[in-house]
């Protein structure tokens, strides 16, 4: 009786929420396998033709390489800067620390369109070369709050007595950092870098201002194709992007555990 009432009360939510979350993904993957020339749900057979044509398209392959380079570099830059910052924030005793921490979250709060515009103008001003340097720097700013939050929350629960123990046993501060502190927080750092990779790999809004013909990323190509005309090839490209992200996250998970 109560079981039934629970079902009636929650099943609409379950169906609605998971449909909203998952149907878009399912549909992208499904339409990439259609035999028709429009992105329809395949009802009359499956084909991998769209993936074949995808990998014969040099422009798309180039874009994937660019995206991978940008995302990897972003993960490294945001990972290092984010970890350093998180360390500072957890260990330092400064007045108004919370206010400064909120400042670190600004890139999350200001629309990426503004970040893109600002970065383009500023990059021109400081003569930061267009292409990779600008894109990577902008992406690492967008990913910074996430790395910062993840590493910080791990560090907050870090038992500083481990470091004391290490130093009592004779390791100096630097040795302690490398032998104790970094290994303990490494999983959080890798998780942060992973998220930085994913954010960068899918970023469109700020990137659209910064790309050059030789550094066009995959999301830019997807957007342009959506604007110009629909072909199942976009679904195949999007699916490939999803696959790469999932592979990277699984690999990252392996490394951190």
């Amino acid at each position: 009786m109560t079981e039934l009432r629970t079902r009636l009360a929650f099943y609409p939510a379950i169906v609605l929420v998971y449909a909203i979350l998952l149907v878009p993904l399912v549909i992208v993957i499904a339409t990439s396998l259609t035999v028709q020339s429009a992105p329809t749900i395949p009802t009359d057979g499956l084909t991998l033709d769209w993936y074949v044509s995808l990998f014969q398209n040099q422009r798309l392959i180039d874009a994937m390489i660019v995206s991978t380079i940008v995302a990897s570099a972003t993960a490294v830059v945001a990972g290092i800067v984010g970890t350093i910052t998180a360390f500072g924030f957890v260990r330092a005793e400064v007045r108004m620390k919370e206010t400064f921490a909120t400042l670190m979250l600004l890139p999350l709060m200001i629309s990426p369109v503004i970040t893109g515009v600002a970065f383009l103008r500023f990059g021109g001003l400081l003569a930061i070369p267009r292409g990779y340097p600008q894109i990577i720097l902008a992406h690492s700013i967008l990913a910074l709050p996430f790395v910062f939050l993840i590493v910080r929350s791990r560090l907050l629960t870090f038992d500083e007595r481990l470091e004391d123990a290490s130093m009592i046993m004779g390791a100096n501060r630097l040795e302690t950092t490398f032998n104790v502190t970094i290994p303990v927080i490494a999983p959080a750092m890798i998780a942060g870098m992973l998220i930085a990779f994913v954010i960068s790999f899918g970023e469109f809004t700020a990137t659209q201002f910064l790309v050059t013909p030789s550094t066009t990323t995959v999301p830019i190509i997807i957007f342009n194709q959506i604007q110009t005309g629909l072909s199942p090839e976009i679904s195949a490209l999007a699916t490939t992007l999803v696959a790469i992200m999932i592979i990277v996250s699984v690999l990252g998970d392996r490394i951190s555990s």
Partner: protein, 283 residues
């Protein structure tokens, strides 16, 4: 000997001092990085929005705060507001189920998190494929129910993209409620709905606030949802800024400033009730 006893107590204090200054240095590196590559560029943009040529210094602002642009600002805030409400209702509903009723909590949470690993543009693309003439809705019903290229389309897209950000903080706050408090409420005579209203909801409020904040900020700044799923009348601030950038950078800059200030005022009001870095730290 005397020298030794004098120096010994000094040694730890010296190294502690060095320790603390190292931490401050690290903090300064982070804030410096943020300042150079984010705050300074935004401030530069602020300067660009000012008119140093003919006419008033704030000429771009009078344009940015006029007619269509002001309406767009209002529309942006309204769309973000509607999205936030829709997301909160759905998120609370499902988070309550996962936290208190579900048998396979981790699986259900996993499927909530899964979309976060997929680029947002792909998820919007998926929503549009769903309602396009070639998609299942039109193939089945012969109509997209007016969703595509409309306000509804934008809201559906934003909800789909931002729902995970709404569910997680609410789930966390529900999860951390001591079960004994719910038992206490029941024993004291409260029916399930009263318990929800008087005990569970007030205790999960911090999660609700975090969710609302997150969804609102991300929704308001969205460029892709209106661009892919909206009609021409559904442009939001991000789209207008992008558009004006191609013909008037000062105007784009002024629009950016207006939008950011409006949003920061809202966030400031929010921050008054709940510390942002604390609530977002829960993520």
């Amino acid at each position: 000997m005397n020298l030794g006893t004098v120096r010994l107590p000094e040694m730890p204090s010296l190294s502690m001092l060095r320790d603390r200054s190292t931490a401050k240095l690290l903090m300064a590196i982070g804030l410096g990085w943020l300042t150079i590559f984010f705050i300074v560029p935004v401030v530069v943009l602020l300067f660009e929005s000012l008119n140093f040529g003919e006419g008033s210094l704030l000429e771009n602002y009078s344009t940015a705060l006029s007619g269509t642009y002001l309406r767009t600002l209002g529309r942006t805030m309204a769309y973000a507001f509607i999205t936030t409400i829709v997301c909160l209702v759905l998120a609370y509903w499902i988070a309550y189920y996962i936290a208190f009723k579900a048998k396979r909590q981790m699986l259900m949470l996993g499927f909530v998190l899964l979309p976060l690993w997929v680029a947002i543009i792909i998820r919007y693309f998926g929503v549009s494929l769903f309602f396009l003439p070639t998609g299942p809705v039109q193939q089945t019903f012969g109509t997209d129910f007016g969703v595509l290229f409309s306000t509804t389309g934008v809201i559906v897209g934003l909800t789909s993209a931002l729902l995970p950000f709404a569910i997680l903080p609410i789930y966390n706050s529900l999860q951390s409620i001591d079960e004994e408090l719910i038992n206490a409420s029941q024993v004291l005579g409260a029916r399930p709905m009263s318990t929800l209203r008087t005990v569970i909801f007030p205790l999960s409020l911090s999660g609700v606030i975090a969710s609302a904040l997150f969804v609102y900020i991300l929704a308001a700044g969205s460029f892709l949802a209106p661009a892919i799923l909206g009609g021409p009348g559904d442009f939001m601030m991000a789209n207008v800024i992008e558009q004006s950038f191609s013909y008037s950078i000062p105007l784009a800059a002024a629009l950016s400033v207006v939008f950011t200030v409006a949003l920061l005022i809202l966030i400031g009001i929010f921050n008054h009730y709940a510390n942002i870095s604390e609530v977002l730290g829960d993520l």
